[in-house]
Amino acid sequence: MKLMKALLTATAMTFAVAGAAQAKTLVYCSEGSPEGFDPAPWTAGTSFDASSRTIYNRLIEFAPGSTETVPGLAESWETSDDGMEITFHLRQGVKFHTTPYFTPTRDFNADDVIFSFMRQLDKSSPWYEYAPGIAWEYFDSTGMATAIKEIVRVDDHTVKFVLTRADATILATFPMDFASIVSKEYADQLDAAGTRERFNTHPVGTGAFTFVDYQQDAVIRYQAFADYWDGKQPIDDLIFAITVDPGVRQQKLVAGECDIIPYPNPADIEGMKANPDLTVMQQEGFNIGYLAYNTRQAPFDKPEVRRALNKAINKQAIIDAVFQGTGQAAVAPLPPTSWGYNDQLVDDPYDPAAARAELEAAGVSGLKMKVWAMPVQRPYNPNARRMAELIQADFAAIGVEVEIVSMEWGEYLAQSSALDRDGAVLLGWTGDNADPDNFLAVLLGCDGVGSNNRAQWCHQPYEDLIQKAKTTFDQEERKKLYDEAQVIFKQEAPWATIAHSIVTMPMRNSVQNFKQDPLGIHRFVGVDKSE
């Protein structure tokens, strides 16, 4: 019977696909498999690309190719004068996807917004742990879990978030993937059927593309949503062809089996630029790779020692050898694409003679130190071992002896956070959202000492500025505070800022209107394909 049913479905699909033979299809050869299609529990960009950025919307969205925010499912919003309430006015007439497993009977409304957040907040909700071990990592780590006091349904199309504290950074988290809006009506249907786990495998959203099918580790299929609130997409079908190996992705692109690919091998980029059938887009990544000294330990507790060491690092050599040209020397702890970036900062010059002299002036001689090299490849540091070796050579040139240490990734993350950690650590960060706080406070604030603040640096003048910025709602005012904080950072030098990666997106010339996203999101809203 089961076989018969499958055969009948196969026949029906065959006819459907045959009818749509002329459909415009965009093939994106993605780098991996999504963990699931519920946009909230996961933390990997691969999962976000496949779920939240295709199938779902948020109340506030990032404008395509920008970190600027624009209205999404909320047409407008306002924050109360005391910063304790945010009221969203919802867009009307927004439809949820109709799929073989769900037919919505109503449009999107306030109930969906409340459900989308409360399932992550309310531990007594059956949805809080609807699959074994499910956790709401971003909801917790961005502080949403502690920031929301209650969510009030003002009317069908107005929702008020009552907060526990005035925090200017909270608004920046609404465009994040975990804040995607899901259908309460669909959740109720699954509840009644006792099949909650399907929420993660058979998604329903309001986004530009409707989920069609997922063949594990192979292909994800989507169809443009005809009733999308912002208009149907120029392409009809979107396919994610999962292709793990970057070399193979490149071959598929050249052979015309893919239209667009992420994360090419740096060594292949020049060849692709020379191919007349391909267009190669490049943009600074929203990340930072750094070397964090332990500012609690001598002699790294002295800013003059840290500044001297920074002058000994030849960043250009690192960019050439480690990033193979796909990197940019980092001056500030923020990427240049952030609105909080202080473009007036001047980087430490590469000057080994001055570095040696300044070390001597600080009374440091015969220094021996450890440099920790990550065992994994990350966007902000494609080869930490090689980077450590170059730093080792640079420091040797000024008489500092470096021992390179490395260990398993989980251990590395845990041990590098220890207050008494020996030496300087290579690490980095990719922004979760567009707010400068996500770099300047998370990585360098006093709260992060012993955890994400690997420099163990708690400097009160800097801390006062970033805390003040958190409660300042005027963006221009906040920018001034962050500019000042970055000047202090540069003077105090808790890190050697090494590089921001350059993100490369190669595509066939037929792909039109693709906008590279500074946050590393891959989304296909508005993308077209010429014949």
């Binding site: 699959a131 071990g133 062809a241 598929k252 993350l413």
Partner: protein, 335 residues
């Protein structure tokens, strides 16, 4: 024969228990903490860490975790993936047909070509054919799979455009999976060109995966054939005036095949290892890549369950080979 079969079956039980223990310990011996790896640079507070470890029972003593695991297994429950939160058995079954399909094609190709090459080399012993065949087999055996696969892709897919770069079927063919075997599903779909596309996509991964087993089978067949060809009864067969094809095909090959059958059985486990790289390069959605990812994420339940299920498959193949061996060679039934 029944006694022989039972003795082989009984051996399976302690082997299986041993594998549960090895699978359980293997992933735990590796340094690394699944929660820390999941959190990455973002980190996790000690309270949250403890909470997540408790959710999966990782906070319990090791022996207790093993007992729970065995209890769970006895109820047919392989646990849930720490990463995707989905049942391990469901994840395995979604991927296993792809691996099995590729492995079957590879072993068939390796056996047919390997046995033929081995016979040819043995019959033409010392000739240039023998040297060329065995030389090629040695090259095949020493070939780094990753390099070999990329070379074939660049030559046949990108330069000549004869084969697709990767995947199981052209993206234009879309039909629901019925059996999980693309060759079968494409036939069932009734879509014109679907089966041909599935075969087309199988060509390069099958060649790559078959390369090492083919070389081993060819070498084994040659040496077994040479041994048999030197036996007195072969001289008798020839002196009786039997045709060379009858002497080789009927008398020599039948006896030479006995060790070759064992070799083919052993190659199945080699194929599982080779599948990991082959699947990665050809974006083949099988269990190889899934297992590698799970090890790097320290997804305990997936690694345990996956290893156990793979081991069960390998044991089943070896048991079948043992029984076949008993049938082909009655002397072993009494050993």
């Amino acid at each position: 024969m029944l006694r022989f079969a039972l003795s082989r079956l009984l051996l399976v039980v302690p082997t299986f228990v041993g594998i549960t223990l090895i699978a359980f310990l293997f992933i735990r011996i590796l340094p690394g903490d699944p929660v820390l790896l999941m959190a990455g640079e973002r980190g996790v507070s000690p309270e949250r860490h403890a909470e997540l470890m408790a959710q999966f029972g990782f906070d319990k003593p090791m022996w207790r975790q093993y007992v729970d695991y065995i209890g769970q297994l006895l109820q047919g429950n392989f646990g849930h993936s720490f990463s995707t939160k989905r049942p391990v058995l469901e994840e395995f079954m979604a991927r296993f047909p792809a691996t099995l399909e590729l492995a079957l094609c590879a072993i068939v190709l390796a056996t047919v070509l390997g046995v033929a090459a081995g016979i040819l080399a043995a019959v033409k012993r010392g000739s240039w054919i023998d040297q060329a065949t065995m030389g090629t087999a040695l090259v095949g055996y020493s070939m780094p799979i990753f390099w070999w696969a990329l070379l074939l892709i660049i030559l046949f897919s990108t330069s000549l455009g004869w084969t697709p770069v990767s995947g199981r079927i052209a993206l234009t063919h879309y039909f629901p999976s019925v059996t999980g075997f693309m060759l079968v599903d494409s036939l069932l779909s009734g879509r014109p060109g679907a089966f041909a596309s599935a075969v087309h996509h199988l060509v390069l991964p099958t060649i790559v995966l078959a390369t090492i087993p083919l070389a081993v089978i060819a070498r084994q067949t040659r040496s077994a054939m040479l041994e048999v060809l030197g036996e007195v009864y072969m001289m008798t067969a020839r002196s009786k005036g039997l045709s060379p094809s009858r002497v080789i095909g009927l008398h020599a090959l039948r006896n030479a095949l006995i060790p070759v059958v064992t070799t083919i059985g052993l190659q199945v486990s080699v194929l599982m290892g080779g599948a990991i790289l082959t699947e990665t390069i050809f974006s083949w959605p099988g269990i190889g890549k899934w297992m590698i990812d799970s090890i790097s994420r320290r997804d305990y339940q997936v690694v345990q369950g996956g290893l156990l299920l793979i081991a069960a498959m390998v044991m089943l193949v070896n048991l079948t080979v043992d029984l076949l061996y008993g049938l082909v060679n009655p002397r072993v039934r009494h050993v």
